[in-house]
Structure formats: C-alpha cells, structure tokens
C-alpha cells in the first residue's frame, strides 16, 4: 500500500502539539518517572503492560509452536493405518498436550496479551489499572506452562485429554501424578487469566480517556471487555472442576465417585460450563482483530457499529447457555437437550450479523489488499464453514452421529483456527510495527498466508469426510479398509504445509526484527488511539492524555489530536474516569516497578506444585504466600493526590 498521503501529524507522544506541550524538562522527568530499572532486575520488576504483553506474546507463541509440533507428530502417526511411529501412550500424551497447550497456554494468553498491549493504548491510558497484578499474571502463567511441559519432557505428561474426564483422570484410572499436573496447570493458567480479565475489565471501565463514552469505544475494546467479563464468569467453573479432581485424587474426597454419591456428569457440567464459553473467549478477540483490520484497510469504519456491539454482547450471553451440547451423548433428558440445540443454533444469528457487517464494510469501502486484509478474507471463508458445521452439531440427533468424530475435529479447528488464528496472524502483521517499531515483510506475509490457507483447508477439510466415514477422535491408529487412508494422507500433507507456513512466519519475525522497514507512528493510517503514539510506545504511552470526541479519533483529527494535561510528570499517575461517559474523576497513583509480583508468583507456584504431593502444602505454603502478599500490600506513605481538573 502506498503510504497514505497525509501531512506529518505531530503525535501527542512526541509532545509537539502547538500550545499544549510539555517542556523538555518535564518530558525528561516523565520519562524518568515511568522508566524501568535497567537490566535483568528491570525485567523482573517491570509493571509496564507493553513489556509484559510482549513477553506474553513470545511465550504463548512458543507454546503454539510446541503444540503445533505435537500436531505434526500426530498427523504423521495417522498418515497410514496401524502406524507405529508413536506408541499409544505417547500419542495420548501428545494429543493431550496439544489440546491443553493450544487452549490454555496459547489461545487464551495470546489473546489476552494482545489486549494487554493494546487496550490501554486504544483508550489513551498510561497503564493498566493493576500493573503489578499484570506482572504477577505472567509469572504464574509461565510457571503453569513450564509445569506442564517439563512434566511432559520428564515423562509425567498428562494423557487424559485436554478435558480430563473423570473417571479416566481420577485416582483409580490415572495413577501417578499425570492428571495432577494437568489439574494444577489449570489452576495456574486460570489464576493468570482471571487476573488479566479483572485487570482489563477495570481498565476499560475506569480508565478511558476523557470523552471516550461507551458509544465511542472501539469495537476492539468492546470485544476485549466482553471477553474479560466472560472469562471472569466462566473460568471459576473449570477451576472448581480441576480442584475437586485434585481433591479426589489427593484427599480421597468423593466428588466424582458415583459409588459414594459423586457424579461423573458433574465434572462434565463444570468443565463445559467453562469449556464452551472458552471457545468464545478465544474467538471474540479474533473478531476484535478482524474489525480493526477491516476498518483500517477498507478505509472506512466497520458498517453497523451498534449491531456489531450488540452481536458481541449477544454472543457473550448465549455462550453460557449451550455448554450441554458437548454432552448430548451422555444420556441427559432429550427434551432438555433441545433447549441447548436452540441456544447453540441461535448463536449463529449474531455471528451471521457480524459476517454481514464485515463483508458490507469491504463492499462499501476501498479495500487495500495488504496481508492483514487477506487474513480477514481467509477468516471469513474458513470461519463460516466452521460456523455452519457448528449449526449441524448443535442438532441433538445429528450430534449423536457426529460427536467425538473427526467431523467435530474439523468443525472446531475451522472455528478456532479460522475464527481466532487467522485473525491473529492478521493482527500480528497489522500491529507488529506498534509492538516493535518495524514492519513485517509483506512478501513473506503473503507466502505465509497462502501456505497457511491452503494447508489449513487440506488438513482439516478431509476431516469432515473422515468423521462422516465413521472415524472417531483421539484414536492413535486405525485399521485399513474403512476408506480412511486417503483423507488422512491429505490431512497429513496439509499439516506439513501449515507447519511450513508457521516457520515462514517465525523467520519473517526474526528477520524483520532487525531488518524490517521502520514503521513510524501510524504506518497503516489506522483510526484508533494506539497509532497516535510512537512505535513502540514510550513507557508512559502518551505524553498528554488524548481527549476523544469520535469513534475514529485519528481519522477525525487528521492534523492534531485534542489533549488534556494535569497528570503529574514527577510520579506515576493515571487518570480514572466514569464507567459510561468517561468523565475524568481522579488522578490515581500507579505503582512503581516491584519485585513482589514475581515473589508472589514464586510463592503461588510453591503452593500449587506442593499440593500435587501433599495437602499440607496448603498450610506451609500459606506462610511464604502470606509474607509476600504482606510485602505487596504494605501501605505506602500517603501521597498527594487529588481531583483532576
């Protein structure tokens, strides 16, 4: 794309807005105030949401790669019948690791990472509401991820599926600590995800720039808000499920023992009450990326802002009403199941509305075919198939045939890769300059896109047919003669293409980090506030707080952006505002870098890992945890605060 013809606009961050500008001395002071300590210590103590988000991004992407390697291994194993490349035990471990990693260590964290990076920028805030909590989240997430993968490397990897159904994951059928590691990994990652969700929700409600009323909140932020609220509501269910499982395994409680009044269906209810919203927790951020990319590259705002927002809210609501469609085959009363059929199908409506709006935006706009927009088109083509097969499996009778077959594998990969990973790669391409200051290579990006797109269809489309030919999921091998061989071979081939595509992306990133074109503040002429500051942004994000009077502030004010002063430069201060009208309320002190989040994460890790082996870890582990939390919450000397002007 040709650089949009525009006059150089002085972004707020560079402090050159004519009459309202910080003195160089003040600017230096601001820089000093928000700067992290240097070196490794600075890495440990930082509370800068951008640094933490980048860390999150890299870590999550690393696990994406590991889980992808697992997928390739599985595809190779399945490339021919009765293959012996992987043993049954190893295959079961790998598909467990693949699912678990993709869901808990990649999809959720990476979406949160993008949100953690961009949300404060998009709402014109200096920081997140709880910066230290954010640091804590990352460390806890990292500890959980390492627990799982080090376990796998040491041959104690869980082998009970990412859903870890009891009784297979229970004390009788999973001896050793494999299931414990899975269950505790859940606790780790869910603590982290909940903390991020609380953080984002608070930030979005309380820290928007003056003038950014709810009706001016960008679609991206809306999606992240709904995602965060869903996270807060859904994740406790799975933590409950896994904690009860732990307690059954460690303390011989009887939650999942029908002989003593427990129930295996209870586990499934708890798990899917989380598990289904989880899909939308992953997918709504994807929609957020799509909306941002579509708007920028269509050169116009997304058509139907209000229907879009309402659709997202509707998805958020409906997502909690259809978990039972994962359990149609468990023999629950059929009449009740029909309700979940209706709810599951109903969710196609808001999804359909959004698809319409994006296509309409493309239709009405002047689309520029940069790589991010290709990903959007790829998203629509792919995701709609997943959505439609979703309607199919929502039907109770049809699901009884399709459930737990490769048809479902195909379906949810179309939904999750189509609905989240395609937009995510688009988002990488789109925001990479903001993350790093440099552009990714367009050529490599297009190669990556086409390889990925074709590889994806080759891998997963045949799985629909495999499912219809009766191939069940989670089988480490299959007999010949059932007509499954050709489709499996095509899928394996596609899998290799996918892997190559991701390799290209990795190389693209590594090369572009050093040699990529310098991006400037707003390389794509994007409309939202994150483009109003430097790339990458300074630790304090904005020198002066932007004042917003439109949904597309940078398109509205092409010359200069209205700003507001009054936040201290000598100490870390953020502006809080009212939840709906975003009227400034107060100047709030924002915490300094601190080692306590890291120490707290260590203490949490000790407790959680200890409880795999002994319930006494809860007691003794509470001591260090108490110490670090005391340190964390030790009252600071009251500082001068006060009302903003």
């Amino acid at each position: 794309m040709t650089r949009p013809p525009r006059k150089p606009r002085k972004p707020v961050a560079s402090g050159a807005i004519s009459d309202r500008v910080l003195e160089p001395a003040a600017e230096a002071e601001l820089e000093l105030t928000w700067k992290d300590p240097p070196g490794f210590w600075g890495w440990l103590v930082t509370t800068d949401h951008k640094r933490i988000a980048r860390r999150y991004l890299v870590t999550a992407f690393l696990f994406f790669g590991l889980a992808g390697l697992g997928a390739v291994a599985m595809r190779l194993q399945l490339s021919k019948p009765e293959n012996t490349l992987l043993s049954a035990a190893r295959y079961n471990e790998i598909f467990t690791m693949h699912g678990t990693t993709m869901m808990f260590l990649f999809a959720v964290p990476i979406m949160e990472a993008v949100a953690v990076f961009l949300v404060p920028l998009m709402i014109g805030a200096r920081a997140l509401a709880f910066p230290r909590l954010n640091a804590f989240s990352y460390f806890v997430y990292l500890a959980g991820a390492l627990t799982l993968w080090i376990g796998f490397i040491l041959n104690i990897g869980p082998d009970v599926g990412w859903f870890a159904y009891t009784p297979l994951s229970g004390p009788e059928y999973s001896p050793g600590h494999r299931s414990d590691i899975w269950a505790q990994m859940i606790t780790f990652t869910e603590i982290a995800a909940l903390a991020v969700a609380v953080n984002l929700t608070t930030t979005i409600f309380k820290m928007r720039s003056p003038g950014m009323t709810l009706s001016r909140v960008p679609l991206f932020v809306w999606a992240m808000l709904i995602t965060s609220i869903m996270t807060i509501l859904a994740l406790p269910a799975v933590m409950l499920a896994s904690s009860l499982l732990m307690s059954d395994r460690l303390l011989a409680t009887q939650f999942y023992n029908p002989a003593e009044g427990g129930d295996h269906i209870l586990y499934q209810h708890l798990f899917w009450f989380f598990g289904h919203p989880e899909v939308y927790i992953i997918f709504l951020p994807g929609l957020a990326f799509v909306s941002s990319i579509t708007a920028t590259f269509s050169r116009r705002p997304v058509m139907g802002h209000i229907p879009m927002v309402l659709s997202q809210i509707a998805i958020g609501f409906l997502a909690f009403g259809l978990w039972v469609h994962h359990m149609f085959a468990t023999g629950l009363p059929h009449l009740g199941d029909s309700f979940y059929t209706a709810a599951s199908m109903a969710i196609a409506l808001p999804s359909g509305v959004q698809i319409f709006c994006w296509i309409a935006t493309l239709w009405a706009g002047k689309p520029v075919w940069k790589t991010p927009l290709l990903w959007v088109v790829g998203f629509i083509v792919t995701f709609v198939i997943g959505g439609l097969t979703g309607v199919m499996v929502a039907s109770v009778p049809l699901d009884l045939q399709l459930h737990d077959t490769y048809f479902v594998v195909a379906h949810f990969h179309y939904v999750l890769i189509g609905g989240a990973v395609f937009p995510l790669f688009g988002a990488f391409q789109y925001w990479f300059p903001k993350f790093t200051g440099r552009l990714l290579s367009e050529t490599a990006g297009k190669w990556q896109f086409w390889l990925f797109f074709i590889g994806f269809q080759l891998t997963f489309f045949p799985m629909h047919i495999l499912g219809l030919l009766g191939m069940p999921r989670r089988v480490y091998t299959y007999p010949s003669g059932l007509g499954w061989e050709p489709y499996n071979q095509i899928a394996t081939l596609g899998g290799v293409m996918l892997f190559t595509s991701v390799l290209i992306f990795v190389i693209n990133v590594l090369v572009s980090l050093r040699r990529g074109a310098l991006a400037g503040d707003n390389p794509w002429d994007g409309p939202t506030l994150e483009w109003a500051t430097t790339s990458p942004p300074p630790p304090y994000n904005f020198m002066l707080t932007p004042v917003v009077d439109s949904r597309e502030p940078l398109w509205e004010h092409r010359e200069e952006l209205p700003v507001m002063e009054g936040l201290s430069t000598a100490k870390r201060e953020v502006l809080t505002s009212s939840p709906s009208e975003a009227e400034p309320i107060s100047r709030q002190a924002s915490p300094e870098p601190s080692i306590w989040p890291f120490l707290s994460a260590i203490a949490t890790t000790i407790v959680l890992l200890g409880t795999i082996f002994s319930e006494w870890a809860l007691v003794w582990g509470a001591l260090p945890l108490g110490v670090v939390l005391t340190g964390w919450f030790w009252p600071k000397r009251p500082r001068a605060g006060g009302e903003a002007q």
Binding site: G365, L400, F461, P472, V475, L482
Partner: protein, 332 residues
Amino acid sequence: MRRPASAAAALLLCGCTGVQTPLDPAGEQAASIHTIWTLMLWVCGFFYVLVIAGLVWAIWRNRRVAGGAPQASTHDPGMERGLAIWSAMIFVGLTVLATWSFFVDRSLASTHEQNALHLRVTGYQWWWKVEYQEGPHPWWFETANEIHLPVGKTARIELESGDVIHSFWVPNLSGKMDLIPGRHNVLDVTPTRVGVYRGQCAEFCGFQHAHMALTVIVEPQARFDAWRLHQLQPASTPATPDAQFGQQVFQSRACGMCHTIAGTDAGGRMAPNLTHIASRPTIAAGTMPMSKGALAGWISDPQGIKPGSKMPDVPLTTTESSAVVAYLSSLQ
C-alpha cells in the same frame, strides 16, 4: 477458496456406502438422523454459497478502487435493510433446522417397542461385553465384541460401563450413546437391512481407545434364533488331544482367571467370555480378524499388539501355546 467447495461436492458423492458411516443408514434411527444431515447440508450449503458470493461481489466491486483517505461512517439505509433481510433469512433457516431436528429427536426418544429384544452392553477397557435377555425366564447369555440382531426388530440396548466412560457407536444403525459408570443409558436400535456393520468406542477411554471395536451382524430372524440357541449351549468339549491339552493349560494357567468358557472351570468375568470365540468375526475387540494365526499371535504377544491392554504376556511354551490355539479355535 475453491478447494472446500469442490471438496463439498465430493462429499456429496463419496462415502455413501461403508460399514461404519452414518451416511449409509441401515437402521431406522440412523435413517431419520440422515434426513437431518441432508437437510443441514442443503441449508448450510445455501448460506455458505450466499456468504461467499457476497464476499466475492464485495471484492470484485472494489477491484479498481484501493486506498485513499478514510471515509466517515455513513448512515446507509440500504445496508440496514440488507442486514434485516439477512438476519431474517438466518432466523428462518435456523428455525427450520431446529424444528426438524426437534421432531427427529422426539421420534428417536419415543420408540416404545413392546416386543423389543433386550441386550445389555457393558464397556470395559478395551472391549465390549454383550448380554442378551430372552424369553419368559431371563435366560441370559454372554458374548463379547459382537452383536447379532434380527432384522426389522427393535433392540433395546442398555449401556453400562465397568470402568471409565465409553461410547457405543454403530453409525450405520444409530447415533452414539455414552456408557458412564454409575449411570444407566438406553439406546433403541431398529436395523432395517441385513449386513455386517462395525462400531467403535467414541469416547476417549485410555491407551487402547483406538482398538475397541465391535461387529454388529444384522441377520434374518431365523438365523438369529439359530445363533441364539447355539450361544446358550456350553462350550463343546475338545475332541483332539491337542485341544484337550489346550483346555488343561487354559484352566491351569492365567487364562481362566479372567476368561470364562461356559461348561468348564474357567470362570473369569473380567475379560471377554470365550465360550464360542471361534464363531466370532474378530479377536481383541476388532483388532484382528479371527484366525488361528491371529489367535496365536495375540496369545503370544498381546502387549505388542495392543500395548496397555489388560491381557498379560503369559509365558507359555510353544506346545502349550499351540494347544491353547487349537482349543480356542475348536470353540465354535
């Protein structure tokens, strides 16, 4: 983009026969589910074509305009109307599908066959126990990894689990149903076509989930009755000295601890009942077709063939092993 479309077309043509596919129904239940599939495929296919058409149109229309200064958000009544129509279409489509699905579901749930054949299928890691109930007195007999059903008669299958969750799925006959410890599920199956079908466990159940299949043989009533009468008999006494030695070995070694052969002292209930094993089409839950060679292989190296299965490597001499094979293959 073209790939899925052509593949979808291929899908319509392919897979219309097979022993383990819902696309080739041989039972009433599978047939009525198949109607939903057909309807779904057409309705969803229609919507997909519509979406793709819209997308192509949008891209085609703007093929020459690209970039430029951003437009402001505009109020476009045409677009709103389009959205309303689109939403209405989705709504109608969903209503049709949901209603159809609901009625099929009701029809599946409301099979109240008075005269049904009663069976109980119990899932174990990793095989199926099948028990039949017949007649005024509950004469039960037991077999494993095979189900014989008379054509045209509803079979009421009670589903239970002996360890973890399994799922009973014979796609040509009906949808799947889970076997959950502590719960009791029932599945009605009405086969309408004579044939041999294959079913497989459809819920992950541990190491050998992949090797947990069963064979369903739908046959005319007369043949079924003959089979049933035969199943009620105890095992035939071995005729050859080799087989007699095999029986001795079977009873005195670990075999009889887990397997039953009716009429002998082998009374284990934890593994498949082998009373009429030689008449079954497969061994080791569909892992291998029945043959002397397969039996010999299975007996000598179960952990190599089906790692993790509960069948131990029993150290037998070659003579003992071949005697056991001779004995087992005499159990017609």
